[in-house]
């Protein structure tokens, strides 16, 4: 069975094609204001990459904040259900899935059967979100892909007193003006993100195994920081972590 899962997030749009449980192809693009018109071409490009004609797709599921833009979708599924299904499918031992999205932080507590037992979502405040990290990295002229390497050079991470993204940005700028090392500033930013994430996740009590989804999951020092604060073991998502929502949608499409 060939399925497509497409997750339109606030910052990035992700789509995957799956053949039963196997990931055949994926695509990631920046979400634009014009995505409604572009989404069809994007999905065709995905088919091309996979070498599978779109007519052969049995089911297409849409998810994410912009799910309704996918007119060709057979159904829409809630992002939390999609994240949970992807996590439960690959990582049955994981009890807590945290997703750092472009404009949200979501903690999902999973039952032993892999069902959503409880969840908490902050999409009201940018603090700690992907957008937050992106803003601070932009001010420091850093790409997210550079962070792993740069943070390892930090010897004394700065302390940010602000949680609000707007105020934290001013703080970052004043550290730059004071001549502080970029590595120490970005390490301080990541520590703030970790604090925000853990503050939310901790409300579910202690867990043994957790995973992180969303592009931010590729930043190892951040993952380590959260693991330490949660006193839980991190199990990495087996595919690109930014694809978790789309993969979950594709898996759910397969079970329809």
């Amino acid at each position: 069975m060939i399925t497509i899962g497409c997750d339109i997030g606030s910052l990035f749009t992700k789509a995957v094609m799956m053949n039963n449980d196997n990931l055949v192809a994926y695509k990631i693009t920046r979400t634009t204001g014009n995505l409604g018109q572009e989404i069809d071409d994007f999905l065709s490009a995905l088919s091309q990459t996979a070498g599978i004609d779109r007519k052969k797709v049995d089911c297409l599921a849409g998810t994410g904040i912009g799910a309704e833009l996918i007119k060709s979708a057979d159904f829409q599924e809630d992002i939390i259900t999609c994240l949970a299904s992807a996590s439960a499918f690959y990582l049955p031992e994981v009890e807590l899935t945290i997703d750092i999205g472009g404009q949200s932080i979501t903690s999902i507590l999973l039952s032993q059967e892999g069902e959503v037992e409880n969840f908490m979502r902050n999409d009201k405040c940018a603090s700690g979100s992907g957008r937050f990290l992106e803003m601070m990295s932009d001010k420091l002229n850093l790409q997210l892909s550079q962070l792993n390497e740069i943070i390892t050079r930090a010897n004394k991470p700065v302390e940010l007193s602000a949680q609000c993204g707007v105020f934290a940005e001013s703080e970052v700028i004043s550290y730059v003006n004071q001549g502080e090392e970029v590595s120490n500033i970005i390490a301080g930013v990541c520590a703030t993100v970790a604090n925000m994430v853990v503050a939310q996740a901790r409300r579910f009590g202690n867990v043994n195994y957790w995973t992180l989804t969303g592009g931010v999951a590729l930043i190892e020092p951040l993952v380590k920081n959260i693991s330490k604060k949660l006193s839980a073991k991190f199990i990495p998502f087996p595919h690109h972590p930014q694809l978790a929502g789309a993969i979950g949608a594709a898996l759910l499409a397969g079970s329809e």
Binding site: S10, G33, Q103, K124, C125, A126, R131, F132, M135, A162, Q163, C164, G165, V166, F167, S170
Partner: protein
């Protein structure tokens, strides 16, 4: 005898010089990187306006960011919190005032005073940029308007947009999307001012605002925010007889007068 108050904010610095309770000189400048430099500059300019020299000022009270430092460096003889200064300044201008809403560049405060002008209670938001001057600054930049224009232009709006977010960062994205979709600037501006007023009122409601209510700080000059606050609270705000941005420094000058004459 001359007294002065100097108020250093996150974005602007103000100085007020009084003689017998009356303002004889005042100045507002954009802040310099160092509060002490800001204080010197704004004081010198205010002094120049009324033709006085520094030594002629009998007592100076500092308030705002770095107020302790200004006192330690000898720029002021005493320092007072912005909350006390805005409370006293507003109450002195209008003794009917019981609630002062001060919206600064990076924070917002709601101050309650009793019938004798004494501080009763206050709430403050300095954690979240929504509902502070910074919010309007970010939005005016996105719209390519000055802060004054942001207020003016929205008065012509018949259909203010509804913001679905509160967070400054998310509202900024929303604003950009509205503009991309071709929504008129005035309608977006009106939606921004309305969102701003809603945050301020939410803060004010935590201390049960009582009449009369005065709006102080730079944002008080935004006509649209002012009128939205009136609409939501269903009260008429009292207008200060001086520039609302000067009220903190004026309150500091009044404290200086009280201190300086008691000695």
């Amino acid at each position: 005898m001359y007294f002065a108050g100097v108020d250093i904010g996150s974005l602007t610095a103000e100085a007020v010089i009084i003689n017998d309770g009356k303002i004889i000189g005042s100045e507002i400048i954009s802040v310099l990187p160092n509060p002490l430099d800001s204080a010197r500059e704004v004081m010198n300019r205010a002094l120049k306006k009324c033709g006085l020299n520094f030594p002629e000022i009998r007592f100076i009270v500092s308030t705002g960011y770095g107020r302790e430092k200004l006192q330690a460096e000898g720029m002021a003889q005493e320092n007072k919190s912005e909350i006390s200064c805005h409370g006293l300044g507003a109450f002195t201008l209008n003794p009917e005032v019981r609630t002062v809403i001060d919206i600064g560049g990076q924070d917002a405060k709601v101050i309650k005073v009793d019938g004798s002008g004494k501080l009763e209670n206050f709430v403050m938001n300095d954690k979240c940029a929504a509902g502070t001057g910074h919010f309007l600054e970010v939005m005016s930049r996105s719209l390519g308007l000055s802060l004054d224009e942001l207020g003016q232009i929205s008065l012509d709006s018949k259909k203010p947009v509804e913001m679905s977010n509160r967070c400054t960062i998310y509202v900024e994205t929303e604003v950009i999307h509205f503009l991309q979709r071709g929504t008129a600037k005035k309608d977006v501006a009106a939606g921004i001012n309305k969102a701003m007023a809603e945050r301020v009122v939410a803060l004010a409601r935590r201390v049960n605002p009582e009449k009369e209510i005065m709006l102080t700080g730079g944002v008080a000059k935004n006509v649209a925010v002012r009128s939205e606050i009136q609409k939501i609270l269903k009260v008429k705000l009292v207008s200060p007889s001086i520039d609302p941005q000067l009220i903190g420094a004026y309150g500091a000058a009044l404290f200086a007068q009280a201190k300086g004459t008691e000695k």
